[in-house]
Symmetry: C2
Subunit: 84 residues, 2 copies
């Protein structure tokens, strides 16, 4: 069993209204010193068995087709930790 | 300028309907071999100036009060990269 993390973030050139709302809230609440906020999604997948190249390629396909919208979002697949 | 990442995930003992929906969709789409999916949020904060202990403590306060709901979510603050 292995834990794989998929981070999905809006592409840099895409407006991010959620992140902008958080940023404005920070200003209102008196938290200064933050120049920008972007909000995305984080998925943690528990993958059965050993994390072979094949399995990892499948996770990338999942990330591309189901977890992200490639038109407006970038994704990154990371192996978090091997679970005993 | 520094980039700080705040990961917000549902606590392990909390039901995660979003993650469950993704998991079921994986099964339907023929992606086997995934035992569990949890879905959370990822925030990227661009912080002005040097990342002092004080600034980092402020980001933790932001994460606790604005970015997460401590009753049902855990958060983790990570320094991603120093931006030149």
């Amino acid at each position: 069993m292995a834990r794989v993390v998929v981070d999905v973030m809006p592409k840099p050139e895409i407006l991010d209204p959620q992140g902008k709302a958080v940023h404005q809230a920070l200003d209102r609440l008196g938290f200064g010193g933050v120049a920008d906020v972007r909000q995305g999604k984080r998925f943690e997948l528990a993958v059965d068995g050993d994390l072979t190249e094949e399995r990892l390629a499948e996770v990338r396909r999942i990330a591309e087709t189901l977890l992200s919208n490639p038109v407006i979002e970038d994704f990154e697949v990371r192996i978090e930790e091997p679970v005993a």
